[in-house]
Structure formats: C-alpha cells, structure tokens
Amino acid sequence: MSMTKLIIKNSFRHTLRVLLTIVGISVAVIAFGMLRTVVTAWNAGVAASSPNRLVVRQAVSFIFPLPYAYKEKIAGIPGVTSVSWLNWFGGTYIDKDQFFARQACDPETIFTLYPEFRLTSSEISAFRSERNACIVGIETAKRYGLKVGDIMNMEGDIYPGSWQFTVRGIYTPRSKTDDATQMFFHWEYLNERMKQDDASRADQVGYYVVKIDDASKSAVISQKIDELFKNSPAETKTETEGQFQQGFVSSSGAIIGAINIMSYLIIGIILLVLCNTMIMTSRERTREYAVLKSLGFTGGHLFAFIAGEALTISLLGAGIGIALLIPIVQGFESLLPRGWFPVFIIESSTYVLAGSSALIVGIIAAIIPLYRALTMRIVDGLRFTG
C-alpha cells in the first residue's frame, strides 16, 4: 500500500458527501469559466487592438461623421505612416437577427492597417478591382455558406436602399482573439450612392484609422490631430485603438465589473464547500489521526494525508468542471444571437486560473484540519468520541 492509495481510499470514505463536494466544485468551476469567458468576449476588441493604431472620430459622438477632406491633413502629420477610413453600414442581411459588423472601407489601405485579417494577394487585388466587391470573415462565410463569387444582398438602414455585394475574398484571423466575423466593402461604392441619393451625406467618413510609426508617440500625435481640427465644425477626438474599444466596453463597465467580482466570489464558494467537507472529515477522524501519530506517523505524514485528500477532491472537481466547460461554453454560444460576441472562446488563462485556484483552495482547505491534527495531543485524540 502506498501513501497515494491511502489518500485516495480516505478521500472516498464518505462517497456521497465527497461526490456532492466534487459536483459543487465542478459547478463552481464551470460558472467561473463561463463568467471569465463572457468578460473575455466583452474585452476581445480591447485585447485585439494594436498600440500603433489611432482612431479619429467626431468629438461630439461616434455617430456623427467627419469630412473626407481630413484624410490628407491627417496624413501630413509627422509620425503618421498610413491613413484609412471606415463607415459603419449596419443594414439587414437575410433578416434582422443576422448580426455581424459591416463596414465600408478604403480597399487600398484597409488590409495594410489590419494585417491580422489575412488574405491572399489575389483576393486583395480582386477586392480592389471591383466596385461592389466585399470581403467577409471566415466565421461569417461558414455561417452563411458563403464562398468567393457569391452575391450578398442587403437592405440598408443607416444608408437606405438595396445593396448588392460580391464576395471576393474570405479572411482568416491571425489569432483566436481576432474577430473573424466582419464584412468590408468599398467606401467609394457607398459614397457614390450617397452622392446620388442624398448629397448632404456624401464625402463623409465614419472614423479614420491612423497608423503611426512609434506607439510611444501616440499621445503626442493624437493631440496634434485634434489641434488641427480645433474650432472646426467637426472637431475630432483621437485616441488609441485600445482606448477607442475601451470606450464601448466601459459603457458596460459596471456589469463587467460585477461579473468579474462574481467570478472571484465563486472561488470563495468553492473554498467554503471544500473547507466544510475537510473540517467535517478531519473531525470524524480525530481518533484515527491520534492512532496514526501513536504508530509513529509524523506531522509531515499527516500533512500529506490531509492536504492530499483536500487536493484530490479539489483537483478532481476542477478537472471535471474544466472538461465540461468546453461543451457548455459551446452550447451557451449557440444560444446567443449569432454574432453577439464575435470572439467567444475560453482563454488558456481561464483554464490556468481555474486549475490554480483549485490547487490553492485545496491547500487552504487543509490548513484548519491540519492545524488541529498537528496540535492535538495523542491521548486527547484517543479519547475522542465524536
């Protein structure tokens, strides 16, 4: 018989109680993982943002456009290496429940500024050369069974009317945290329609994306851009892409904060559940610990028995919880409206946090029983009747 066998036999002495504890820990780990995944999804835009990209938007609100004429002025600022621009299109594809980001862009610069959206050179040139061409992310392509050459018909809302696009490329994201659901089409295509339908909305840009040569100069360059358009009818607000994304997320900051707190409270719940089990277990075994001590087992042995038992239970619970987390997150994502979270993945840090929390909880849960066992006099333990 080995120490490990003894620890395992002891761990499952009260099968029902231990199973309930393991289930409790598993459920808590699943809840923790789910909440962390939601927070990760919420912050995905911030996480994926580049430090050397700036976003220039209307100072009053993102919903107000900027003149197209700003492009050349921004490009002339020292430190700016490239300028691109986009307009949020909105619109309806198939029906109103089908959501993914659709934006009009400058086909010449967009994929230079966003190298994380990977396309072949033939796809890029095909996209550039056709006025109503579009590029879609691989997730969107998979979702609607789109392939190169397919037509996408859309009904505009921000830009009313019927719109037709031809898929000329499908981009793949560089990493799992990059959004693989977006759609891009020519800004010129949109602008031409505006010139025809509503001239007051022509030559307007939703926001500029500016690439700079040195991320450490972002504050200085942002200030220079904003100073350039000060006291104009369309003042700008320039910030890093991360800050821009954070602006969207921070409107839900309180909710995310609450979710974050809840996820850590769950760790506390695991701790209480396991502590309760371990304290009950060790109390019942007071006499046995006394017997073991009388036989010559030392404090080190008792530490191995008690901590080993707590760790067996906590790690088993965490293991089961983590194993179930993957299908549960996938199931949860399928219940959400399509495209609700462009990136909905369990980050490896979530696994590490769940696993290490279980490890720490196992050790903490062993402290009180261990202290009692170590400080108990053998003669008192042998007299213990429960």
Binding site: L6, E288, V291, K293, L295, G296, F297, T298, G299, I378
Partner: protein
C-alpha cells in the same frame, strides 16, 4: 533480568481550568525485559496515564522515563514518533483499525514507516496475520470481522514492525469472555514464545492473572504486588 523500562520519580499533573490535578505521584518502577506486567486500579488511579507515558504518547511533568537506555522525556515530537514506530506496539481497547483499509492494509500501516520493500512488507504482514490466526481474513475490512478478530488484527498491526514492548490498554475491555481469552492467550504467546515485554492496563482480574507481575495504582500512587 535487566530492566528495559526504568521509571524514576515520575509525576504527572494536568491543569483543568485553574486547578492542578496530580495524576501520578512520584512513581518509580522497573520493568524487566520479557516481563508481562498488568497495571490495575480503579478509574482515575493513573494507570492509563502511566501506560501512555511509557508508550511515549504523553510526557511526564517531572521524573525520568528510560526505555532501553533512551530517556524518552527529552526527545522531540518527531524523534519520539520515530522512536515509537521502532520500539512500541500499541493494542487499544477499541482496536482503532482504519475502516477503509483491509486487515492486510491495516497491519501494513506501521511498516510504511520502515525502509522495507513491498515484498518484504507483504511477507511481514502475512507472518503477523498468521501469528494471530487470521491469514485467511487478510482481505476483509474491519466491519466484516468480529470484535475478537478486529482485536487480533490490531495485535497483528502491533507485532508487524517487531517492537520490543507492547502496551495494551484494556485489550479485552470490549470483548466477550471467549474472545477475551483468545486475546490474552495471544498476548501470553507473544510474551513467552517471542520474549516481548508487555505492559497491560486492565480492570479484569482474570486478564491480570495472565501477567507475571501486577502493579496496583491508587490515586496516583503505585502499590507493587507480586503474584504467585
């Protein structure tokens, strides 16, 4: 025969709230190697306390306890634990077997503290269980055994690591007469055939009759008596 246990001017006091209770008063006692000693006396006389101090699971307040040349009073807790594992075999009134372990595993428990290999441990456990007549019950769990059998497993656990001294606290106190006789016969065999020193606390005069020396304790004082 030379003394394996020498107790000199042993005093033990407990503090309960603010009151100090003296359980053993200046007890001096020699127990020779191979003796079978019974400690008798009414409840509260200090016999179990004396046994616990001899076994190294309690410490004297004053006085000295020398066992086979070692003053156990000066050993640290870890040293004392190691010393117990080598020199003392425990037999408790309520057997104190681990319920989730089989008879074999219970007997093997003290051998986990030795450097013996797995096969040597197996041999030792089988030998111990055959000495107590339970070789055919080694895969049984304590709840599958009778009280007498459980106590025999406990004795096998005590003899497995081949200690010099056995301490038995009311080893027959929880058994019927037939089982009690079997256990006492077993202890007698350990003493006579294997030359083990046994110190046994008992209330039972018939059990004490198996010992070759009986010491009586009264309110912490030792009154030696030598039977036939």
């Amino acid at each position: 025969m030379s003394a394996i246990i020498t107790i000199s001017h042993l005093t033990k006091t407990y503090k309960r709230d603010k009151q100090e209770i003296t359980v053993l008063k200046d007890v001096s006692l020699d127990i020779a190697q191979g003796d079978f000693v019974a400690l008798m006396g009414p409840s509260g006389s200090g016999k179990t306390t004396l046994l616990n101090i001899i076994a190294g699971i309690d410490r004297p307040t004053n006085g000295e306890v020398m066992i086979d040349g070692t003053n156990i009073g000066v050993l640290s807790e870890t040293e004392l634990a190691k010393w117990r594992s080598r020199h003392i075999g425990f037999i408790f009134q309520f057997y104190n077997l681990i319920p989730v372990l089989t008879a074999f595993e219970n007997v093997e428990l003290p051998l986990m503290l030795t450097p013996l290999s797995k096969s040597e441990r197996r041999r030792q456990v089988e030998l111990a269980l055959s000495v107590v007549g339970l070789a055919d019950r080694m895969d049984h769990y304590p709840k599958q055994l009778s009280g007498g059998q459980e106590q025999r497993v406990a004795i096998a656990r005590a003899i497995a690591s081949d200690p010099d001294i056995f301490v038995a606290d009311e080893p027959t106190g929880d058994l019927d007469r037939v089982s009690a006789e079997e256990i006492l016969t077993l202890l007698e065999r350990l003493n006579k055939e294997f030359g083990k020193t046994i110190v046994m606390v008992t209330h039972d005069p018939q059990a004490a009759h198996r010992a070759n020396i009986v010491h009586h304790l009264e309110k912490g004082d030792l009154i030696p008596q030598v039977p036939s």
